[in-house]
């Protein structure tokens, strides 16, 4: 009897400690997900809601702009994530065994753009790429490039956005890789060096396989971050020219807060939610396996 009493008390203590977090979780994560799924099946006009089944989804799949937004988002995810992982491995594998001052200089110079945020960096790039008085447009003119307005051309706008996003955010991946590579036991390299292995071989055969968990983690957090790419689109292109750079998040935002199509916007949200859940399964698996 006494024992049961004790357990009961410990249970209550535990629940009380997680209560604040749990309440927030229910109100601002669980409920919005359920409500979002419900809204995606309704036509919402101001205070009036009417059930329309899958009409919102049907509307979406008849809208060429929605397809364009999926296409662009996929292109962004693939290229930005590949560039980020490859470049971060290159940087981290070259600097991790150097002296601490140098490592923190490299880390700092790549991480500072991450710190000052996508909003600020988008504004600077917007200035640099401005066709009238931007430095890059000036350079393009001087070098007789045919395209001066890189953001106004449907062929160059995607590569430019990919580059800007990659350059701004790669610092986080570099920090993670450096931390992971510093953690690799030194005797592994020493053994390989004695065997006469070149640095490039050490990187590819020892370092990269050993930091695989970091690679998985970086890949997933970056996929999810790029999936919701918004700031750079709103501030640099507004989705243009002619929807050439519209993304899913930008499409969602416009439907919700410009065209007042809350049902359609919710349907986009549900689709994006399902994609993120699907993509995060390997990461969640890895996190629980270690326990």
């Amino acid at each position: 009897m006494k024992l049961r009493n004790y357990h009961w008390k410990e249970n209550v203590t535990g629940y009380l400690f997680i209560l604040p977090q749990f309440l927030m979780f229910l109100i601002f994560i669980v409920y919005p997900i359920i409500e979002g799924i419900r809204l995606s099946l309704y036509k919402v006009q101001f205070n009036q809601e009417s059930f329309v089944g899958f009409d919102n989804y049907v509307t979406l799949f008849h809208d060429p702009v929605f397809f364009k937004s999926i296409y662009n988002t996929v292109i962004f995810v693939v290229f930005i994530v590949l560039l980020t992982v490859a470049f971060a491995i290159f940087v981290a594998s070259s600097v991790f065994d150097k002296n601490a001052k140098y490592v923190s200089f490299i880390r700092g110079s790549y991480y500072i753009p991450v710190m000052v945020s996508m909003v600020v960096m988008s504004m600077v790039w917007g200035f640099l790429l401005n066709p009238a008085n931007g430095l890059i447009s000036y350079a393009a003119r001087e070098m007789d490039f045919s395209i001066v307005n890189l953001l106004g051309n449907k062929h160059t706008v995607l590569p430019v956005i990919i580059f800007v996003t990659f350059a701004t955010n790669v610092g986080q991946a570099i920090i993670l890789y450096i931390a992971a590579m510093i953690g690799v036991p030194k005797d592994l390299f020493e053994a390989a060096e004695v065997d006469g292995a070149s640095r490039v071989r050490i990187i590819f055969q020892i370092l990269i396989p050993l930091v695989k968990p970091t690679t998985i983690y970086i890949t997933i957090i970056n996929i999810i971050a790029v999936l919701k790419i918004f700031v750079v689109i709103q501030l640099l292109t507004g989705g243009g020219p002619n929807n050439a750079s519209v993304t899913m998040m930008y499409y969602l935002y416009n439907n919700a807060f410009k065209y007042n199509q809350l049902g359609v916007a919710s349907a986009v949200g549900v689709i994006m939610f399902l994609i993120t859940m699907l993509l995060s399964i390997p990461q969640l698996r890895a996190m629980f396996k270690e326990k």
């Binding site: 535990g14 604040p20 290159f90 110079s109 991480y111 920090i175 995060s280």
Partner: protein, 280 residues
């Protein structure tokens, strides 16, 4: 003989790659250099082509313009309030939950933890429509509190701090309990001081994240006076004023606090970001 040749080749790759990395690092910082120097030019110098690589005359008028023409001081205070209060609430809620998940036993603990952690992967932007309507129902649209509460739901802090609590030996907590300390006292006076580095890392990472957050603050802060710094400064970009020096001054105002935080607390970033990742 072969050995030395091999050694030379290895060093060559090392030198070349590090030179490339340094060049890129400098190039990567160039936009920020351009931001600062442009913000100090006058309106005619900033559009001069070929450009002045270093301002010929320095002027602070762009900064005074930003603060005089826009409620930039108000925006800064709003951002401080939103980021500060969000972070304090996050630290309280997640340190309590992390302690429970790490040190206490209760029914359904593992399952609840799995559910919490799964939510880490869902960005709140995806659910922005229902989230907006909830905030509306709570009467918090166009209020700083509406920007704050949804941030508190993030499970990142629980995940980060649980790692720190796990590394504290159970014996310590048991000793405190045997000495007659209640659960709350054990948590507040024994365990919490030990995980202070974790709290510090969480505080800074979360503060920066909320400070730099954009979309949610954009939809909640509709009146000019309830905008945060990031959202307010971004409106300068769409401003008809063609003076780029003025826009760059605004962007600099938004960037400087984060640069200071980074320079002052660099070690927390490394620790916090790496601590939040999978452990190898």
């Amino acid at each position: 003989m072969l050995q030395t040749k091999e050694k030379k080749k290895r060093e060559k790759y090392d030198i070349v790659s590090n030179v490339i990395i340094i060049v890129f690092a400098v190039l990567n910082l160039f936009p920020l250099y351009w931001l600062f120097t442009s913000s100090l030019k006058n309106s005619s110098d900033v559009i001069k082509m070929p450009p002045d690589w270093w301002p010929k005359t320095f002027t602070f008028s762009n900064y005074t313009d930003v603060f005089n023409n826009q409620p930039a001081l108000r925006w800064t205070l709003n951002s401080l309030f939103v980021a500060g209060i969000s972070t304090i609430l996050v630290v309280i809620a997640s340190s309590m939950a992390a302690y429970a998940f790490s040190k206490l036993n209760f029914f359904g603990k593992n399952m609840l933890f799995v559910i919490f952690i799964s939510s880490l992967m869902v960005p709140k932007e995806v659910m922005i429509v229902p989230l907006f309507r909830i905030t509306q129902d709570l009467g918090m649209v166009n209020s700083l509190w509406g920007m704050i509460w949804p941030n508190v739901a993030t499970a990142f802090g629980v995940f980060l701090l649980k790692g720190f609590f796990d590394s504290v030996p159970d014996a310590l907590r048991e000793a405190a309990r045997i000495d007659g300390a209640g659960e709350t006292r054990t948590f507040l006076q024994i365990l919490l001081p030990i995980v202070k580095p974790g709290i510090g890392a969480l505080f800074i990472l979360n503060f920066v994240q909320v400070w730099n957050d954009y979309l949610w603050q954009l939809v909640i802060g509709q009146d000019k006076n309830v905008k945060t710094l990031m959202v307010g400064i971004a409106t300068l970009m769409q401003d008809l004023n063609p003076n780029f020096a003025y826009k760059m001054a605004g962007a600099t105002v938004a960037a400087v606090p984060m640069l200071l935080i980074f320079l002052l607390f660099q070690r927390y970033f490394t620790r916090g970001i790496a601590g939040g990742a999978v452990k190898e």
